[in-house]
Symmetry: C4
Subunit: 202 residues, 4 copies
C-alpha cells in the first residue's frame, strides 16, 4: 500500500505545473493567429501583404512547438517539485508570452532589421530561461542518471541555439532574411534529431 | 507491482499531448466567435450582415468539433508516444490553427468564390495532416488490431472527405453555396455514423 | 487486477470531454472580459460608460459559472461515454460559445429591448441544450439511481429557469431591467441551494 | 480494495476545479499580452510608448503567477469539495479576471493616479476573495493540521499584503510610482520566501 501510494504520488508531481504551462503555451500559439487578420479583398492580391505575417507565424509556431516538446520531456523527469522549479517555470513562460508581440512586430513590418534583432534577442532570453529551469530541476534531482543524460543532450543543442540566435542579431542589420533562415534552421535542428532519439528510446 | 506500474504508465501515455491539443482546439473553436463582433444597432437589421459570419462559424465549429472527436478516439489507441507522433500532431494543429483565419475571410466576404476555394483547400490539407498523424501512430503500433479496425473505418471516410473537399474547390467558382453545402454534408457524415458505431462498442 | 483495471477505466471515462469543455468554458468566461476595453480617460467619468458592459459581464460570468458547476456534477455521473453524449456536449458548447457575443451586444447597447430579448432567448436555448445532454447521459445509464436523483433535482430547477427566461423575452420590451433582474434571480437560485445540497451530501 | 478506492477518490477531489482555474488563470495571464500592440514604426522610438504597458504587464504577470502558485498549494490541501469552495473559487476567478482590464487601463494611461488606485483596490479585493476561499476550505476540513499550518503562514503574508495594497490607494495620489513599487514589493515577498519554505518541506 505505502509503495503504491508513493507511486501514485510521484507519478506526476508536476501535473498541475504541466497543465498550467500547457494552457499558457496553447494560448500563446493560438493568439498569434489573431494577427492574421482577414482582408476585405477577395483575390490573391488581398492575401499577398499577409505573407510576411504568415512566415513569422509559422516560425513562432515551430519555436513554441519545439519548446512545448522539450518542456514535455523535461518535466517528465521531475520527481519532486520545488518552489525554485515553479519560479523558473513562471519565468520561462513570461518570456515565451512575449513571443506573440515580437512575432507581430516583425511580421507587420516585413522583417525590418530592428524587429528581427529584437526577435532574435527574445529567443536568446527564452533559451536562457529554459536553461535556468533545467538547472532548477537538476538542483532538486542530483542523483538522477536518466535526467543527466537528457540534460547533456539538451545542453549541446542549447549552446548551439544560443550561438545561432546571438549571431542572428548583428546579421539582421546585414540581411534580415539570413537571420530568418537561422531561426528556421535552429527549429529544424530541434525537431529532427529529437525524432531519432525518441524512436530509439521508447 | 511491475504489472501495475506498466498499467499506470500505459494508461495514458498521450496525456499531455491530449491536454495541449485540447487546449489548442478549445481556443481555435472559441476565438472564431470573436469574429462575431457586436453591432451597434439594436434591431434585427443590425444583425443581418452577421448571418454569413454566423454560418461560417457554425461550419467551422462543426469541423473542429469533428476533429476533436476523431482526435479523441485516435489518441485513445496510442500506447507508445514517439517523436514522430508529436511532430505529426503539431503539424495537424498548425493547419487547424489557420481555420479561424479562413473562416473569418470567407464569412466577412459573404462566401466569395476564392475565399470558399481557399477554405476548401485548407480543409483538404487538414485531412492530409490527420492522415499523416494516423500513419505515424500506425508506425508505432504495428501489432495492434483494435487500432487497425479504427484506422480502416477512418480511412474510408477520410478518402470520401478529401474527394468532397477537392471537388468543392472548382465548384466554389460555379456556385459557392454548393461548396458550403458539401462542407456541411461532410461534417454530418462524420458526426452521425460515429454515433451508431460508438453505441455498439461501449 | 481486473477489478482494478476496471476501476481505473471507469474512474474518469469523461476525462478528456471534461478537459475540452473546461477549456472552452474557461475561454468563454475570459474573452468576455476583452469587451471591457480600457478607456483613455483617467477619471471616474471615463469608466461610467463601462458600467452596463460590466453588469452584463457579471451576469454572463455567473451564468457560465453556474453551467460549469452543473456540468461538473453532471459529468461526474458519467460511467460510459457514447457518441451521443459527445455530440450533445458539443451542441451545448456551441450555444454557450455565443454567450460572449450576446453579452457584448447587450452591454454595448445599454440593455436595448431586442438585445435583452435575444440574450434571454439564447439562455433558453442553452438550457434546452443542457437538457438534451442530460437525456443523452440518461440513455446511457438507465440503471443508475444516483444519477436519477441528480437529474430530478436538476429538472425542477431547469423547468423554472426556462419559464423565467421565456417570460424575460416579452418583458424586455416592457422594461429591460426586469429581464436583467430575472437573469440574476435565476443565477442565484442555481448558486445558492446547490451549496446546501452539496454540504449535506459530502 | 476499498482503501485503494478511497485513495483514488481522495487523491485529487479538486481535479476539475484545478483544471478550470488553471485554464482561466492561463488565459488571464496571456490575454494581457494582447495589450502589447505591435507598433508600426521599426526603431526604438516606436517601442518607447510601450514601456509603461510592459511594466504593468510584468507586474500583473507576477501577481497572477503568485496567485496561481498559492492556489496550487491551497487546493492541494483540499480533500473534500463543497459547493461553498466552488462558489468561493468562482468568486476569486471573477475578480482576477478583471486584472487584465485594470492593467490595460493603468498601462495605457501611464500610471495616472486614479488608474493606480483602482488597480490597488482590485488587488485588495482579490486578496479578500482569496481569504474567503481559504475560509471555505477550512470550514470543510476542520480537523486537518497540515492545512492549519499552511493557512497561518498564508494569513500573516495576507494581512501584510492587504495593508500594503490599502496604503497604495492614497499613495497613488501622492506619487503613483511609490504604489507601483509597493506592488512589486508584495509580489517579491510572496515569491521569495515561498522558495525557502518549499525547499525545506519537500
Amino acid at each position: 500500500m505505502s509503495e503504491q501510494k508513493h507511486q501514485l504520488k510521484t507519478k506526476n508531481p508536476a501535473g498541475r505545473l504541466e497543465a498550467f504551462s500547457d494552457g499558457v503555451l496553447a494560448i500563446i500559439v493560438t493568439i498569434m493567429v489573431l494577427e492574421l487578420k482577414a482582408p476585405h479583398g477577395t483575390d490573391w492580391a488581398a492575401i499577398k501583404p499577409l505573407v510576411p505575417v504568415l512566415i513569422s507565424y509559422v516560425m513562432s509556431f515551430l519555436f513554441v512547438g519545439v519548446y512545448w516538446g522539450n518542456h514535455h520531456h523535461l518535466l517528465h523527469t521531475v520527481k519532486r517539485l520545488s518552489a525554485g522549479i515553479m519560479l523558473a517555470n513562471l519565468h520561462l513562460l513570461f518570456w515565451l508570452s512575449l513571443v506573440p508581440f515580437a512575432t507581430a512586430w516583425m511580421g507587420e513590418n516585413h522583417f525590418a532589421p530592428l524587429t528581427v534583432a529584437v526577435y532574435a534577442g527574445l529567443l536568446c532570453v527564452c533559451g536562457l530561461a529554459y536553461t535556468i529551469l533545467q538547472k532548477a530541476i537538476e538542483a532538486c534531482h542530483r542523483d538522477d542518471l536518466r535526467l543527466k543524460t537528457v540534460m547533456e543532450r539538451h545542453s549541446r543543442k542549447g549552446i548551439f541555439s544560443v550561438i545561432a540566435y546571438l549571431s542572428a542579431i548583428p546579421l539582421a542589420y546585414v540581411e534580415p532574411y539570413i537571420s530568418v533562415g537561422i531561426f528556421f534552421l535552429v527549429a529544424i535542428v530541434w525537431l529532427v534529431p529529437e525524432r531519432s532519439f525518441l524512436m530509439e528510446e521508447d
